[in-house]
Symmetry: C2
Subunit: 150 residues, 2 copies
DNA sequence: TGTCATTAGTTGTATATACAATTAATGTTT
DNA sequence: AAACATTAATTGTATATACAACTAATGACA
């Protein structure tokens, strides 16, 4: 549906760029709401899922907290506290690094990998959210978004 | 910059749609961080700005709370508390509706309109965030985002 | 008119975010 | 080695979000 209709805006946006800014925020919020539902049965938040995927990407090599932060979708969320929550659920392990005791090494556990596998399986069909788009449209969109942040 | 580089992802996304989901969330977070900075000198949050714009759109006609919610970018944020914050700063006025005393009519004040005018002036040049894009690219993007949520 | 359902908004609570201040370990420099 | 700077992470605090429970007013109707 057109953005203007979804947010019941009677006036026009002053230009395409302004509409684009709102459109990206709006679409992201829509997607985030879906993600919350998608991960809720597994007891984690979208950000926690993101951290687990980051750790799976580097496993079995550990990552330090600042590595995780820099890879996160939302750079400003607090990695210390997110990781602590995952640790309490047994999905990651924390260990102070011996060579540099300021630094904390974090690794995903077997339990964490299993959780991700479960989620992936349950969401195999999830890309259906975007079923209105063709693959090549998704490519164009990805390309333009990448350029937009340039 | 390519999303894969920004989030230092070594592995490939499993498909374009999965990358697109992350790309939208990531771009939105990037935009949101800019907005926080953009509005900070004026002492309001992006969501508060959004509410003020919605009210300006309908002024001088008041809106009830549920109207505001349904027009907001982030539907889940709590309109009652957002409006209360704006009221404390003098940017909006609340009045229980006489015809239907469940309902609360909210109007933007002169002070609120002045604030928006100030912000608009200060941010005249802001669309520069998107200077890597042409107008027609922005149009395509808007169109595809609209379709994606369909 | 009394009962029940619906509508509009508010409040409580757990969690998350933004951001600054702080702690602790390591590097650098004289 | 002492003083200072930098790096890595943690903590504190104010604000925001997600969501459910709740209150109050109105509507429907037997």
């Amino acid at each position: 549906m057109r953005l203007e209709d979804e947010i019941k805006q009677n006036k026009k946006f002053s230009n395409e760029f302004e509409k684009l800014a709102v459109n990206i925020l709006y679409t992201s919020s829509w997607l985030e709401a879906q993600n919350i539902q998608r991960f809720k049965p597994f007891g984690i938040s979208p950000q926690q899922y993101n951290v687990l995927r980051i750790l799976r990407g580097s496993a079995p090599k550990p990552l330090m907290l600042s590595d995780i932060s820099s890879r996160m979708i939302d750079k400003n969320s607090n990695a210390t506290r997110l990781v602590e929550k995952l640790r309490l659920k047994g999905y990651v392990k924390r260990e102070v690094c011996e060579n540099n005791r300021r630094q904390v090494d974090i690794v995903i556990t077997k339990k964490g990998l299993d959780l991700l596998a479960d989620i992936d399986k349950a969401n195999d069909s999830w890309n259906g959210s975007f079923k209105g788009l063709t693959k090549s449209e998704a490519e164009v969109l990805n390309d333009v978004l990448d350029r937009l942040r340039g």
